[in-house]
Amino acid sequence: MSELRETGLRQLADLLRRREISPRELLFDCRQQIDLIEPQVRAFVTLALERAEQQAVDAEARLRTAVEPSPLAGIPMALKDNICTQGLTTTCSSRILEQFRPPYDATVTARLAEAGAILTGKTNLDEFAMGSSTENSGLFTTRNPWDPDRVPGGSSGGSAAAVAAGEVFFALGSDTGGSIRQPAAYCGVVGMKPTYGRVSRYGLVAYASSLDQIGPITRTVADCALVLQTICGWDPLDSTSAPLEVPDFTEFLNQPIRGLRIGVPREYMGQGIDPSVIHAVRSALTKLEGLGAEWEETELPHTRYGLPTYYLLATAEASSNLARYDGVKYGLRAEGGRDVIAMSRMTRSEGFGAEVKRRIMLGTYALSSGYYDAYYLKALRARSLIKQDFDQALQRFDLLLSPTTPTVAFKFGEKADPLAMYMNDICTIPVNLAGLPSISIPCGFAEGLPIGLQLIGRPFDEGTLLRVANQYQQHTGWHQQRPPMCRKEG
């Protein structure tokens, strides 16, 4: 049975269609793994296994009768707990939404359900997606399956850990400054942030509206293409979703990469990046060269302004997006307030964790009277300069390449200082500011911990990223390695 967890989605779909296995068997397999792993990893906020059983039964019917069932039909997966699921709590790992049950599905939830994928549960995150380690979860901590003393990354730590530990076949995360790619790197799995506007944000609890995107976390690039295919596409409920055709991403997977031009921004390969990470990334470059790609160093001169820009724009938008959590209409309501203002203040103070409060205050300050120009407006301008860097580089190159993170997964409590924590996203944040597609794939190990390789593409050119990433995976074995706690299976 454990071989199933080594099987790619495409092959699984074949097996399911040929009735060699059933959705219920797949789910059973996952449930066994969940029982084994969860006590150590704690990736899930909510398990919805009874519901999942029913979905598995429905999927079986679908597989029997549908002419062309989706390749995701019958496949157990998980959703980050900031993606709305009707009738199932969606907590954003925050005490302020601990009991909240949305009366509606996010668009991606509906699309996966329509495809027949099985929702096993909701995964843990840094509260309201604000963090890089999942230590900021307001509920509990998730551990990295590779080393339980280390963080899985964040904010989509639960989703990355669940996929890495074989608890589900794929998961969705959200990425505002690296929150899919960074945990994917730390957990040795594939994580993609699509171009801004590729995937509907309707039903994704907003952190920073102009930066958030939902994306797949999978074990292989081929799996990623399949999941991406299902969740992409224009949504009339999201004014910022791109009215563009969605190509067949799987068609890019096996295209050779001879002649493709890769740019390596020097700002991402220097000071601040761990030597072992640099080493792994350079080896990957060599491998890609061997496959026929060409590479050259390039520059993104405004890179160092990325983090400050992000921490002004994202927090400003967040301060407004999180204003609705006031104990009036839903969520936690603190008792004992003498009037509604007192009640709201108490509710928010009790319900939000420290990082959320910090970012709300920073964002409020950046927008406030007298400071708007110096902070928020300045950041809006800086953003266009950062984007321009990428636009110019991507005229000369088909894609860019860098490490995903400066280090491998760190130990719990190691980055207690907020600024130190923010530095984890130094390679991923500028990509969100530019709205570009980006993928992280495993490219090596240091001290037994996974290292991630980041590829950044032109707007809406997820295809080229999948192409390069898949070719790399076909010729390397990093993605096939499993965390020690999962290797006990026979």
Partner: protein
């Protein structure tokens, strides 16, 4: 010091946050450190740069003026912390 204690308290008020004495002190320190780092932007000449509020070149995204069924009242109130009949109830407002 870029932001002082009074400013932190004012911001907390605007953001409807009740901060303990410890929190005020801690956040004042941390916010100062972050704003200090953010001050890096002062070195960047943005005078010729466009203020980029939207990342995609989309405009005029509209929908037609057509009614869709609203939520059932029970669904609308399902998560209400307190209700009276078909209303949401809140503590006194003034």
């Amino acid at each position: 010091m870029i932001i002082n204690r009074e400013q932190v308290e004012h911001v907390a008020l605007l953001a409807r946050l009740d901060l303990s004495e410890e929190e005020i002190m801690l956040y004042t320190d941390q916010l100062n450190a972050i704003l200090d780092y953010v001050g890096l932007l002062d070195q960047l000449d943005t005078s010729q740069a466009e203020a980029m509020a939207h990342i995609l070149p989309l405009s005029n995204v509209f929908r037609a003026d057509q009614v869709r069924p609203p939520l059932a009242v029970e669904d609308a109130l399902a998560n209400a912390p307190d209700r009276k009949g078909e209303y949401f109830r809140v503590p006194r407002i003034v």
